[in-house]
Symmetry: C2
Subunit: 719 residues, 2 copies
């Protein structure tokens, strides 16, 4: 075993000869270190046990179901296309192997291993974490710190900064699998416009392609694609097409032929291109572990950027496999054989049926194909969790070249840590379930801890039938998520804001408008989190140390200023909210907005469908502006501030051009606002370098509910 | 349309010529009444719309998922074997067509119709209930009253009193599909005994049968069954075998041959016995709509009662159908045909797969078989929801004859209203999900409203893998449910109280002991509810009229004295509890038990795994006794009372012999306890007719937390 230390004190233990995932980019220095972990090598892998005390909580693990505290469940890291996110589902589309155990001490663990890992986080035995790594070559990173915040920051530091989308990526996006043609897409936009609902763009699902073939456009349904893209762009609407991992096997299809010629595909045992079946029928999977494939496939995106496209979603990149031809044939063969016996016994029948129900994403398929890594054949199983990561890295690197200095929108379904530097993720094919709304909230801090900041769930739910109440409640949460997309599946009822009653339309329109109002705050918090290695979404327990703050998981903190507490139960007209300190209740739809101070403790808060509520912390503030139709129209001239100040509050509003990477070179705007309470008045200091802000209106409340209003105008001069 | 009135004022509207389900047994008198319902007849059925105001809540619908308030969901009454109770599942095993709309006025509706009904309870349109009845012949009952309590009582009155199990039916039962033989069953009992866990009986799942054949016993695994039953009985352990609806098609099998000879089976279109496939392979379904079949099948239970059996569970009686031979053959044929095309298009593939995944319980199957009702052929589809009801009625009526005056345990999976007079129900194949624990609680009042009192869910969850925390939390609820059964499926991990850690064993043992301690209260509340047409479990809103009491759905009332509030979230060490009035917090595991008075309002209550908490209402009390190994050993000599009295409290403790039906003729014991606060002391009056009670120990608290202890001895004399 080799050991290393990173600059920020992180210890690294190397077992065997691991595959380099490049999840961590901080340089490591060899150093003799003691490892106190209970690591046991076995024939089929490695086990690690970590003792749990009764007060220990577990955080992290990114995209996984369960509580914010991950204790008391089983998890599996093996990226999978899982359509039904039921309560005891152990794995989803991504593999995020960082977690923190927090009790008397706080310690972070990152297992840098691209194959299967299972975690029993105190499920069968409440006193132990039991981890199984399906291999013997891996790194373990151990991070220590004062508290959870310090440990997560250290981890964010070593894995490198998150992907940053253009500012327009923070707008509202509509999506549906089943906008069948240009006319339907246009109609969506028009209906938004008619109904005065802000919208930034429309995602294009499989519908736009010719027979599910990557980088093709259906001439039947989407002819004149380039003009179509440009026309919508003029209206301020971006189109975001989907790209799937599998390339259709079809003679004459250029991508297929180039892939064959260039030897870009994964191979089967005999060295022939591996064949799985997905949407287009038989496909080959590009071998994204090969440099050559990366640049070949990446360059293909230019087919669409040449049409004016500036954003993509990479899908099916676990990679999902509906079936292998042989497995299907065997299932049919078994059924035929068994059917000859006219009175099947029940267990044969179960097997017969299971052969079909279990056809998708079988473990065995991932043993049947190989990547080429540095000239060596490596079975997918061994590096399974890197596929979506490396696909998206390829896209990112190509788009950086193609679009030059222009930022682009890029999300992926499958990911592992490291991919966060190249794109965001949506959390896959959820359902129109209240449970998934609640899970959407709980996943946000966990994803942040693993480096992912451009995140969001399919608002309203992908599968199942959404109704107006659920969509409204969901928006009351996802107004805060960087990626805000309403998406639904073919066959389910429509769930655009206007698909329900007038009342639902009114409420959802107001919520989306609120999103556009809050863009200065959301963008600022996003960029500051990314730049300074902070979490954007935090569990209460990261900030407050009382017993209840540790326990409560149905509220989270957004940045330093705000607590959010969505209603996740149907019919409820309010909810319990725990205030770990005094906070200001905001009713954003209400002309007076500031409802009043809530004392520390438990309160029942009225929260109706027609409302939009959150809470400003003590000595904190939020900035907002007038709403707009889309972010091209964002007008920050008149910045507004709501503040709860009893003593002194400081806020640093970050901004930049929103479209280039110049922020990396320091081209950033800052508006530093300081409010100091002075007896019956406030002293306000503003240091502003943002040319788009000309005036700031303040509304400040103190803990005795006195409201003070102030107005400060300035033209690019410091105050 | 004919109309009627019942004695208690219930209005009945008759449309067409309904099938008589005998759900309602109160006599009806013809009367010209106006119906204000919006009823529309259509080709394929009838629709009814009911306007909803924003404050209206909906209660009832018995066995269904969702909140206590049924608004904002879709439901379907069409009994189905549904293994996956996901959040948006619209139907389960039973059809309970009674609901109450409560707002400015309170109104109950009962649709007496044995076929399919769908309910949109304000889902797509929040302002309307939209009901579709798949037929044109039905009764609608309309019940009016002051409040929800009055309306539910009126409904309970007209449908007749619930089934009453023997007192031992209130003990703790262990079950598992997969106790494969006598030895394993014995081992379960022995392990309970060794670990000092009370147990009343063990359910026998399919394992005990010979090849899944009803009324047979595997000679390989359960030889000497009669001795086995008697041996365990001597130890105080009852065995409760399963009986399935379908009868195996097998020459030489007596039940099959008798059924054929007696013409007792449902028929297909051509008049031959209908063939479905379930556990035993091909089966015929007894036609329980025929009187002859009822008594023939009912009599068969004697095969098992002759072995000493005194309880049964009727299963698979929706009836569940795994597949029809023809459907399976067609699925295979389609697959073969499609496979010839070596590159299947994706939609053909989905169809191919769906042909297999959808084989179970297809709507079409229920159109393929017929019952004989009063000499007429009636398609199952038309009377679908009566199957489990009439099967269980047959069982009940036979057992009443066979067991003479002795009560028996009888539960069914499928039911509709009317069946409540003949047996209890468990709520089917749930999973080891926290969501299902929460649903277990929410279903209790709804089931009571529909007449079902002997109820319970599979504690710990049937499917999936339970862990110690979930089992403990689940028991903290199900200690209160009349039917208390821990049951799990083959292939899932074991979930007996001793299957986990020592700590789990200790906690669950204590909980089961608490159950036995509380039997006097639970039995008394059960019997009084049944006898007086009250709900045993009530939503808070039925008792308290403030805004929060209407809203809060994660706590319920048990009888008049107690509020319960289980923890349904993993890792939580407590929860918010809303107190609509001052109550006394009880920590039943704690030697001092009475923690103190909780003021009206919201409190965070610590509730650990090692605890058992509930709340006694103001001026109320609960009786309990020392725990015991099983109910034969129940010793009520020393009755204990915990009371919270600030003024005056009265409790009527009901009891009877627990085994006969003499209670119907008035052979009941009553212990009437009155506690009156007099300055710094209490006056206690007891009127006791229960010979088993010799002494009562009182522990009384007032709202200032003063505790008074008293002891009253008497030997069958009134005090």
């Amino acid at each position: 075993m080799e050991s290393y230390q990173l600059k920020n004190g992180t210890k690294v233990f190397q077992y065997g000869l691991p595959i380099e995932t490049k999840a961590v980019i901080a340089p490591k220095r060899k150093m003799k270190l003691k490892c106190d972990l209970d690591v046991k090598f076995q024939k089929d892998g490695t086990t690690i046990s970590i003792e749990l005390l009764s007060e220990d909580r577990i955080y992290g693990l990114g995209e996984n179901l369960g509580g914010i505290n991950k204790r008391g469940r089983i998890y599996e890291s093996y990226c999978t296309d899982t359509p039904s996110h039921i309560e005891d589902r152990e794995k989803l589309y991504s593999a995020h192997n960082f977690f923190i155990v927090s009790g008397k001490v706080v310690r972070g663990y990152f297992i840098d291993f691209p194959g299967r890992i299972t975690y029993d986080m105190g499920y069968y035995n409440q006193k132990d974490i039991n981890i199984k790594i399906y291999g013997q070559n891996f790194y373990i990173y151990i991070l220590e710190g004062e508290d959870e915040k310090e440990v997560s920051s250290k981890f964010l530091e070593i894995i490198g900064k998150s992907y940053v989308p253009p500012k327009w990526g923070f707008g509202y996006f509509q999506s549906r699998w089943g906008y069948r043609n240009k006319e339907e897409v246009k109609k969506v936009y028009k209906t938004f416009k008619e109904n005065d609902i802000p919208i930034e763009g429309i995602y294009l699902d499989l519908d736009y392609m010719d027979n599910f073939k990557d980088f093709t456009i259906s001439q039947e349904r989407f002819s004149g694609f380039k003009e179509f893209v440009e026309d919508l762009k003029k209206e301020g609407i971006y189109l975001i097409p989907i790209i799937d991992a599998g390339v259709k096997v079809e003679n004459g299809y250029d991508i297929y032929e180039e892939g064959m010629k260039g030897d870009y595909f994964c191979k089967d045992k005999e060295g022939k291109p591996y064949e799985g079946v997905v949407w287009p029928g038989k496909v080959h999977f590009p071998d994204f572990m090969k440099k050559e494939t990366q640049s070949w496939f990446g360059d293909k995106y230019q087919k669409l950027t040449d049409c004016g496209i500036e954003g993509f979603w990479n899908d099916m990149n676990e990679p999902a496999i509906f079936y292998e031809q042989e497995a299907l044939e065997k299932a049919v063969e078994y059924a035929q054989k068994k059917l000859k016996n006219k009175n099947l016994d029940v267990f044969s029948y179960f097997k017969l049926k299971d052969n079909f129900t279990s056809l998708a994403n079988r473990d065995s398929y991932y043993k049947n194909f190989y990547h080429e890594i540095d000239g060596k054949k490596v079975c997918n199983e061994k590096v399974h969790n890197l596929y979506g990561y490396f696909m998206t890295k390829s896209t990112y690197e190509a788009l950086r070249k193609i679009l030059k200095g222009k930022r682009f929108l890029l999300i992926s379904r499958s990911s592992s840590i490291g991919m966060h530097r190249y794109g965001g993720i949506w959390t896959g094919d959820n359902s129109s379930w209240w449970f998934h709304l609640e899970q959407n909230m709980k996943m946000l801090p966990s994803l942040n801890m693993c480096g992912f900041f451009y995140i969001g769930a399919d608002t309203g739910g992908f599968g199942g039938n959404c109704n107006g109440e659920l969509l409204t409640r969901w928006l009351q949460l996802s107004i805060f998520t960087p990626l805000l997309r309403n998406h639904s599946a073919m066959g389910c009822n429509n769930q655009e804001p206007y698909a329900f009653t007038k009342k639902v339309l009114k409420n959802t329109r107001n919520l989306i408008k609120a999103r556009y109002s809050l863009i200065p705050y959301i963008y600022s918090e996003y960029m500051k989190s990314v730049n300074h290695y902070h979490l954007m979404f935090q569990p209460l327990s990261f900030e407050f140390k009382d017993v209840l703050a540790k326990e409560i998981e149905d509220q989270i903190l957004l940045g330093d200023q705000v607590m959010i507490a969505p209603v996740c139960i149907p019919n409820y007209k309010g909810r319990y909210v725990y205030f770990p300190e005094e906070m200001l209740e905001i009713s954003f739809m209400h002309p007076k907005k500031m409802i009043g101070i809530r004392k520390k403790g438990i309160h029942y808060i009225n929260y109706r469908l027609e409302d939009f509520k959150f809470f400003i912390r003590k000595n904190a503030m939020i900035p907002y502006v007038k709403s707009c139709k889309n972010l091209k129209k964002l007008d920050q001239k008149n910045l507004k501030i709501l503040a709860y100040v009893d003593n002194e509050a400081i806020y640093n509003l970050y901004d930049d051009d929103g479209i280039s990477y110049d922020f990396i070179k320091g081209k950033r705007f800052s508006t530093r606002i300081k409010i100091i309470k002075k007896e019956n008045n406030y002293e306000i200091k503003v240091h502003n370098t943002n040319p788009s802000i000309k005036n700031i209106e303040f509304k400040i409340i103190d803990s005795e509910n006195h409201i003070t209003e102030k107005d400060i105008s300035f033209i690019n001069k410091n105050q």
